[in-house]
Amino acid sequence: MDAIIRVNDLTKSYGPNLAVDHISFDVKEGEVFGFLGPNGAGKTTTIRMMVGLTQPSSGTALIDGHDILREPVKVKQTIGLVPETSNLYGELTSLENLIYQAELYGVARKERKVRALQLLEEFGLKEHQEKPFQKLSRGLKRRLTIATALIHHPKILFLDEPTTGLDVMSARGLRKLILDSKKKGLTIFLTTHYIPEAESLCDRIAIIVKGKIRIIDTPQNIRSRVKEMEILEIGLDRIPDPLKNKLLSLDGIEKILIDENRIRFHTENINQVTPGIIRLFEEQGVKMETINTLSPTLEDAFVTLTGLDSELMKIDKPEKTPA
């Protein structure tokens, strides 16, 4: 497959701060490419440069062969963007929002209403077509924002944190819609800080931290990079405060992740570290309730490769405007 997006040495600085630090990557036609990273990593800035909303400090990108700096209008014609905040016109109905967008994108007069109704049907919004956008639920607003981005049959859909702030069912429905759009041949570029979302949706993932891309690969390959690592998960009746530091001082343990009363140990040799761990639990008087060995997940790989705590990825950005 040919690259439909080519990003070359793209950089954005705000004064002395580098928000995006000389990143380069390609996105192939028809794939779902994910930008995974914690809040403030530079994901949104990258997307905004690629769609022509933010001027890069240096570097460039080609979107379907069009330079983002020299041909911004052609780039905008080729893409659809769903920003992090659903920002359609509150006073207009779902149908009116879609038709207005069709008008701005130059969809032929005869096709505007037909296409709008088709999208309302596809996105399960038919019964809400006469409702003003401001009266829709958050999940429906998100769906309509995506439908609006598709009104002009774009080749590439950019989704910035598509499921942030949605309830579980709405997020699930939205992920299905994203996968359905991919099946129709759309290239999708999405940013997310949810590791499971990136894993379930993306053909390839770029992990970005502090404006730099750390790794680009398929979720399977990223996981396999830490295959030599073994994971031991132990459930305890309680976790006393000083336990973590004492565990980290044991030989052979690379990382410890604590989730409620479960502790995950990342190690290269389970057999070597297990006796020491058990001895320490006995000394501290904590009781083991479960013990499992696990294969590394994408989350484990993320933690190992970036050195970041995966808890950081669970923090949502505060919303800018009520959606």
Partner: protein, 254 residues
């Protein structure tokens, strides 16, 4: 090549029209806004009428000019600031549109609003004070050019602010001095020096002078055609300035 340019131009005009149509549907043609737009000029007219029914004809060109100024600048400034705040302006910046098309569309919407309000007030005055329009074509041209200039002034104001109340405050900073400097109540040539110099730098002066020619067969300060040419100059100047500052601001803010 020529057809391509013509096609592109028609496309831009069509898209500007869609922007204006959306603004009118979403904001301007709502009953509360129309009644708000009509309230101020009606209060002004009634206040002058009850004070001096015979002398109101003298201030009518000024009152019509003020109506146009307040309705166009307010709407352009409020709508752009509001859309900037809720993120909807970003949608326009994302669409395959030139910035000039966006500005033209926004100015067109608020100009139409200002013209509707102005025409309602003018029609209201015809039976009440026996107002007559001596040069309908020049009258139309004067209010259209003035409406566009005032809307562009509103856009220019909106570029520098973040909140709607800031837009209103800044608008008043420009508008209130114009009431006294532009010949609405006091003839410009009779003002003490150096106030007339300031007056000649403000577009409302030419709106009021133009309207005096059309509504009262007054000779005005300068000939009617010159008022129209100067208003056209203001339109071009304010459009260029808005475009320049808007582009600069987008680069800074986005």
């Amino acid at each position: 090549m020529r057809f391509e340019v013509q096609g592109k131009m028609m496309d831009e005009i069509a898209k500007a029209y869609f922007i204006a149509k959306k603004d009118m549907g979403a904001y301007y043609l709502k009953p509360p806004l129309i009644s708000w737009g009509l309230m101020l000029p009606i209060v002004f007219v009634l206040a002058f009428y009850f004070r001096n029914p015979m002398g109101i004809k003298e201030v009518v060109p000024g009152l019509i000019g003020l109506t146009l100024l307040f309705s166009c600048t307010s709407m352009a400034a409020i709508v752009i600031t509001f859309e900037k705040r809720i993120g909807a302006l970003e949608r326009l910046l994302l669409a395959p549109l030139a910035i000039r098309t966006i500005l033209f569309g926004k100015a067109l919407g608020s100009t139409v609003f200002g013209l509707v309000i102005t025409l309602v007030i003018t029609i209201f005055l015809i039976p009440i004070i026996g107002l007559s329009i001596h040069h309908p074509f020049s009258f139309s041209l004067t209010i259209i050019l003035s409406g566009i200039a005032f809307s562009l002034l509103g856009i220019l104001i909106s570029v520098g602010v973040k909140e709607v109340f800031e837009a209103m405050t800044l608008s008043n900073f420009f508008r209130f001095p114009m009431i006294f400097l532009c010949g609405v109540f006091f003839p410009v040539p009779e003002m003490p020096y150096p106030l007339p110099i300031l007056s000649y730098l403000l577009p409302l002066t030419y709106t009021v002078d133009g309207l005096r020619h059309c509504l009262s067969e007054d000779k005005g300060i300068i000939p009617l055609y010159l008022n129209l040419l100067i208003l056209l100059g203001f339109v071009l100047l304010l459009f260029g300035l808005s475009l320049f500052i808007f582009k600069k601001r987008i680069r800074q803010e986005f």
